[in-house]
């Protein structure tokens, strides 16, 4: 089955890859290398950059306490929101896959929050819900709990943002739904004949056959969550406050580059982020050999 690719195969493949290659070389590669260069300069955006070698990186690791805090906030966010979002999305997708009426309406209802994206409206609504006298605390008060001001206390605001990201689980759900549709129905019928219960079917059929899609959602959620910017920008004060509780990594990077006129430093931050994300992605790829099953007969990558 595995034969070395011939010249004509190469040609065909590269024809298919052409648009992407073209975009990569014309639009992406230049700016990426540019930012790598800038990360070794002092560049205030408005005057020419000065080469300072690795000083930016040195400063980030030795004397920048905001960097450390922003990493903590970001990691908290990633480790909470990624699993919660995916589990929630998977459960809802299975519930809304088939077998009941009005599926279309239900799916739309569950997807609606994600349609709002990072709009201004969502910031207004979220504040309204989670402020000290908001709806959430009114509900809590009924069961005798006096809730804090979720959107303004530095100890809690990150959880408010996690809630927002879990609430907007729609895109992950849709991808799970599409994945579920790829699972041949006769597999379930066959196992039903064998007398397998729903739970057994879920672990024996659904999970393994869905694993390429779970893998995809996991990778993308990790990448996107590490780069989360809009929720912190909209729910927080846009400057990482209160204290540094909403100082997500990309927000810090953005503030450094555009508000504090230190694009060289921001570029260095960006490349550190790239490394962190790459490490996590690589880990998922390596482990995927053990838990992702492809229909094309090749195990993992």
């Amino acid at each position: 089955m595995r034969k070395p690719p011939g010249a004509s195969d190469n040609l065909t493949a590269y024809t298919f890859l052409l648009p992407w290659l073209f975009g990569f070389f014309c639009l992406t590669l230049g700016p990426m290398l540019g930012s790598l260069y800038l990360s070794m300069t002092k560049f205030n955006l408005l005057s020419p950059p000065n080469w300072i070698g690795l000083s930016n990186y040195l400063a980030i690791f030795t004397e920048d306490s905001t960097f450390t805090r922003s990493l903590t906030v970001t990691f908290t966010y990633v480790f909470l929101s990624v699993p919660l979002r995916l589990i929630f999305a998977l459960l809802v997708a299975i519930a809304l896959n088939k077998g009941i009426r009005a599926l279309g309406i239900y799916r739309t209802v569950y997807y609606l929050p994600s349609l709002l994206g990072g709009s201004v409206a969502i910031a207004i609504v979220w504040r309204q819900l989670f402020e000290g006298t908001g709806v959430v605390n009114q509900l809590l008060a009924r069961i005798g709990i006096e809730g804090p001001s979720w959107i303004s206390h530095p100890d809690y605001i990150v959880y408010t943002i996690v809630t927002l990201s879990v609430w907007q689980f729609g895109s992950a759900m849709v991808i799970f739904l599409a994945g579920l549709k790829q699972i041949p129905a006769d597999l379930y019928e066959a196992s039903e004949v064998d007398g397998a219960g729903k739970l057994r079917q879920f672990f024996r059929i659904t999970l393994p056959l869905l694993s390429p899609v779970i893998f995809f959602n996991l990778i993308m959620s990790i990448i996107n969550s590490f780069q989360a910017f809009t929720p912190a920008f909209m729910i927080g004060d846009g400057r990482g406050g209160p204290l540094d509780a909403t100082m997500f990594y990309t927000l810090y990077l953005y503030l450094k580059g555009f508000s504090y006129f230190d694009m060289g430093y921001a570029s260095a931050l960006a490349w550190i982020m790239l490394l962190i994300i790459a490490i996590f992605t690589a880990i998922v790829f390596v482990t995927s050999k053990y838990w992702v099953f492809y229909g094309d007969g090749k195990e993992g990558r």
Binding site: L17, W20, G104, L116, M220
Partner: protein
């Protein structure tokens, strides 16, 4: 037995509806508030407006400088549709190559494709802006649409790669025996089986282009080119007299097209592997 079935079905509906209401509450609040007079939006927080007004919609729709929201909606729709076409075509091409074909340096390209989305976009913004400026494409839709025609969204490439890898390889093998070229395999076998992923890509691209704000704001200056999101942000100035009512009203309206798109297209998920292709 049927009695128990009915009961469990009812329970399932009930649970879905209850959670759904919780999910939907913030959206309902948004819609309800868009019908309240400006001064009552933050003071009267009940879902049902005590005073019902359409002023927010009328004021908001006027838009900016004689360019009304109808124009913004047209512009957003144009950008979104063009982006959808671009992404569906070029990402599926790239995904076919990376997911199905064997060729030299495949792993390198695959890794690079992923790496490109790992760098936060704020730092590549300025150099990228310079490139588009070089082409004199500032204040046009090219910077917003062109990347989609060059398979710039690795998200969708990887999505399709994952789906393609879920398609049994025996199908291509038998097609090849029947004398199909790779291009024919792509067109006759892979694409039809990829429909759920293509629909997903189409829906997401449409919605995400529709919701995008930052790049639209950076690249568009002419009000006649403004999009819905730019129009909405223009109603909002925290230090000034933000027209909150109009903002919520236009946000509600901006939800309508994308909700409709989702509602219409989600049913294509229902057609799984059994009904598409494989004939």
């Amino acid at each position: 037995m049927t009695m128990r079935n009915n009961l469990s079905r009812l329970a399932r509906h009930l649970i879905i509806i209850l959670i759904g209401i919780g999910m939907l509450y913030p959206v309902l609040w948004l819609v309800a508030s868009s019908f309240k007079p400006n001064t009552m939006i933050f003071t009267n927080t009940s879902l049902w407006p005590a005073v019902f007004t359409l002023d927010n919609y009328i004021n908001g729709w006027r838009g900016l400088n004689d360019v009304s929201f109808s124009k913004f909606f047209m512009n957003s729709a144009l950008i979104s549709v063009m982006s959808v076409l671009g992404n569906v075509i070029t990402c599926s091409l790239a995904a076919f190559a990376l997911g199905r074909l064997e060729f030299r340096m495949k792993k390198v390209w695959f890794a690079l494709m992923l790496v490109t989305i790992m760098l936060p976009y704020h730092v590549t913004l300025v150099p990228q802006y310079m490139i588009y400026n070089e082409f004199q494409w500032i204040n046009t839709y090219f910077p917003l649409i062109l990347p989609k025609w060059l398979a710039h969204d690795s998200f969708f490439i990887l999505l399709m790669v994952q789906f393609i890898r879920g398609i049994p390889r025996e199908l291509d093998e038998s097609a090849r025996i029947d004398g199909c070229s790779q291009r024919q395999i792509y067109w006759r076998i892979i694409l039809p089986l990829l429909v759920p992923a293509l629909i997903t890509t189409a829906i997401f691209t449409f919605i995400w282009s529709w919701d995008d704000f930052f790049s639209q704001m950076i690249y568009l200056s002419d009000i006649r080119l403004f999009t819905v999101q730019l129009g909405i942000r223009s109603l909002f100035d925290p230090s000034g007299q933000s027209d909150w009512g109009a903002l919520l009203a236009m946000s509600t309206l901006s939800l309508l097209p994308i909700t409709a798109i989702f509602l219409l297209f989600q049913r294509y998920f229902l057609e799984g592997i059994a009904t598409t292709g494989l004939k």
